[in-house]
């Protein structure tokens, strides 16, 4: 069976910025963990530098950035740029939170793979991350 030899998917769930709304981040962290992934939750109030460092140190397949403060257009580009500066270009970057629809195309242009807005189901998120991370593993294999 493929699962027996497959690497565990590693996901960093991160809370950039100053907002303390961690309900969504914690639910996603737990849902991903229950789905068999290795989840590193950064905790609150992380700088983009701290998040990029965690992603690199943990050799994550994916990072989920949860932002409900309206600062996404400042913070997400910085995380993406910091990862790129360190030569990390194959980590699946996803964003969750109160992101206005008109900001989504711009975030995607930056390289964000998906934006999950209020009402997104955990199964949808699990499936998306699993598909992206599995692809990454196959590329590396």
């Amino acid at each position: 069976m493929e699962a027996a030899t497959a690497r565990k998917i590693r996901v960093v769930v991160a809370k950039p910025g100053l907002d303390g709304h961690d309900r969504g981040a914690k639910i996603i962290a737990r849902a991903l963990r229950d789905a068999g992934m290795e989840v590193i939750y950064t905790g609150l109030h992380q700088t983009p530098e701290q998040i990029a460092e965690t992603v690199i140190q943990e050799d994550a397949d994916a990072v989920g950035l949860s932002i409900l403060s309206g600062a996404h257009m400042t913070l997400v580009p910085r995380v993406v740029a910091l990862l790129a500066e360190q030569g990390v270009d194959d980590v699946l970057v996803t964003v969750g939170g109160t992101i206005p629809a008109e900001d989504i195309p711009e975030l995607k242009k930056l390289g964000v793979a998906a934006v999950f807005t209020p009402g997104a189901g955990t199964d949808e998120i699990i499936d998306f991350i699993r598909a992206g991370a599995t692809e990454r593993h196959e590329r590396e294999a």
């Binding site: 910025g17 100053l18 907002d19 303390g20 709304h21 961690d22 309900r23 981040a25 914690k26 639910i27 962290a29 737990r30 849902a31 963990r33 939750y41 905790g43 609150l44 109030h45 700088t47 403060s69 309206g70 600062a71 257009m73 400042t74 913070l75 109160t98 206005p100 629809a101 008109e102 807005t117 209020p118 009402g119 189901g121 955990t122 199964d123």
Partner: protein, 540 residues
């Protein structure tokens, strides 16, 4: 079973079991068999102990609740405009939302503030900003609520000084400042200091206000954020009241007389979508508070036993999908708060799952309250649901659930220790996860989200915050720093640090530093040198 009540078989019911959104089971029927044995003692009359039916005899017949819409965004000028707009449209109290850097004690030019200035509330860095925020608003004539916690003492000092400049003495100022730091560690997660020094600051404020600001509420003990973080109604009730008792205990340890400060403690609850459960929650809260204040903490004055609260409709119940449906959700929630006897109310705007509200959405939210107040007839008699077999039973069960939690928290050594051990945090995370799984599995339906979904929705216009505001605010702040007497600021900050290292009440040196135009971030940093900072070890 022999005692099976006489009713139609369960087969004919839509579900195998019915429960509130918090998972509390609901029986097929409630009747006289669950009626209280001694209604006078257990429920009482409105305005009488144990205040189950309301803190005042005439309730909303005597005085309607205060319609208090929370507002704050961008710069102080814009928020000031929104305040004037709301007052002009019949709002009767002001409520200030601060931005994330202000809530966390960072000045607008701090590196951690980048991208956050004025986004989720208004940026207030110094007394200069506070003066602008209340420009043209006579403080003697309004009651102001300020939603701020870790740096609350500093914002209160700013407000007192604006009053002073208008010729209004502190004892004439009416309003509320949230100051509820325990729920920050539990749920809202905006902190500056470790728990113990933060608790000392809260107690300093209670003490100082009891001596200087008799019309002010120095703490608004808040369940709202606990509920928004995903707790059940029972957890919201239990953790909030336990937080309240903890503040009372600290003030008593300080040597204050319970009847000197307890009448100024107020509460802030969520008004969520499960209508009857919410009403039962408010009723149980009043009864528990009255009993514990009298019997455990020795209150003699009825004012000390009367729980009065502000309510806000549930932000988390709003959906980004088909946002106009949120007007209906908010109406139901607001009606529950009114029937539950609230003293003031904020109704959320229908676009708040998308962004901060537009002016139109805020107007509809305020009109919702006015329709309940003036058209629905709901305020015509106190506690109209009192005596309902279902509501009374649910109130009793809500109370029992709260006492279960009190016992578990006491076993852990009290609320502060329970928080250190992540107990309430874990309970809330578990409840939030359970609820989300129920939505994912469609065991619970949210219209427009996991059922009755509509494709191709029209886009809702949203409020955008101009990114240039951040630069403008930083320039303002730099102007303040350039204009003020730098030596006076240094002296005031050194004095604040000395006071922090002693047992002295911190309010007087904070007022003096604020007067010297020290910024919020400077005062917080000075205290952090003595107190340290806080990092949580998150549980999920």
């Amino acid at each position: 079973m022999a005692t099976e009540p006489k009713r139609k078989p369960a087969l004919e019911e839509r579900e195998s079991e019915f429960s509130t959104m918090s998972g509390h089971p609901i029986a097929p029927l409630y009747g006289p068999e669950v009626a209280p044995a001694d209604p006078d003692a257990e429920i009482g009359r409105p305005g009488e102990y144990p205040f189950t039916r309301g803190p005042y005899e005439s309730m909303h017949r005597g005085r309607l609740w205060t319609m208090r819409q929370f507002a704050g965004f961008g710069t102080v000028e814009e928020t000031n405009e929104r305040f004037h707009y709301l007052l002009d449209h019949g709002q009767t109290g002001l409520s200030t939302a601060f931005d994330m850097p202000t809530l966390m004690g960072y000045d607008s030019d701090h590196v951690r503030s980048l991208g956050e200035v004025g986004r989720e509330g208004v940026a207030v860095d110094s007394l200069d900003d506070m003066e602008q925020l209340f420009e043209g608003i006579p403080l003697a004539g309004v009651s102001t609520s300020m939603t701020i916690n870790a740096p609350a003492a500093i914002l209160l000092a700013f407000y007192v000084l604006v009053g002073e400049e208008q010729g209004v003495a502190p004892e004439k100022l009416g309003g509320t400042i949230q100051t509820d730091i325990l729920k920050e560690y539990i749920a809202q997660k905006e902190w500056c200091f470790p728990i113990e020094p933060a608790m000392r600051l809260v107690t300093d404020m209670i003490e100082w206000c009891s001596q200087n600001m008799p019309r002010w509420h120095p703490v608004s003990i808040s369940g709202y954020h606990i509920r928004e973080a995903g707790s059940t109604a029972q957890q919201e009730l239990a953790f909030t009241l336990k937080d309240g008792f903890t503040y009372v205990e600290r003030a008593l340890e300080r040597g204050l007389d319970v009847d000197d400060f307890a009448p100024r403690l107020s509460f802030f609850f969520n008004a969520h979508i499960d209508f009857f459960e919410e009403i039962a929650k408010y009723r149980a809260a009043r009864r528990i508070w009255a009993r514990e204040m009298r019997d455990t903490y020795g209150a003699k004055r009825e004012e000390s036993m009367r729980l009065r609260f502000h309510a806000q409709t549930a932000g988390v119940s709003l959906t980004a999908q088909q946002p106009l449906n949120n007007v209906v959700r908010t109406s139901l929630e607001a009606l529950a708060a009114v029937l539950g006897g609230t003293q003031s109310l904020h109704t959320n705007s229908f676009d708040e799952a998308l962004a901060l509200p537009t002016e139109e959405a805020v107007r509809v939210a305020l009109r919702t309250q006015q329709i309940i107040a003036f058209e629905s007839g709901a305020p015509n008699t106190p506690d109209p649901l009192g005596g309902s077999w279902f509501v009374e039973k649910l109130t009793d069960e809500m109370e029992a659930a709260a006492y279960d939690y009190f016992a578990r928290i006491d076993e852990l050594g009290g609320m502060v220790e329970a928080i250190r051990r992540n107990f309430p945090q874990r309970e809330i995370a578990d409840a939030a996860f359970t609820y989300q799984r129920e939505l994912d599995q469609r065991k619970r339906i949210v219209v427009g989200v996991n059922d009755f979904v509509q494709e191709d929705e029209d886009e809702t216009p949203i409020l955008r915050i101009d990114p240039a505001l951040e630069r403008k605010q930083v320039e303002r702040l730099q102007g303040t720093r350039a204009r003020r007497d730098g030596a006076a600021v240094e002296t005031a900050l050194a004095e604040l640090k000395r006071a922090a290292a002693s047992d002295a009440n911190l309010m007087p040196p904070i007022v003096e530093a604020a007067r010297a135009r020290a910024t919020e971030g400077e005062m917080i940093a000075a205290m952090q040198e003595v107190f340290g900072t806080y990092t949580e070890s998150p549980v999920f």
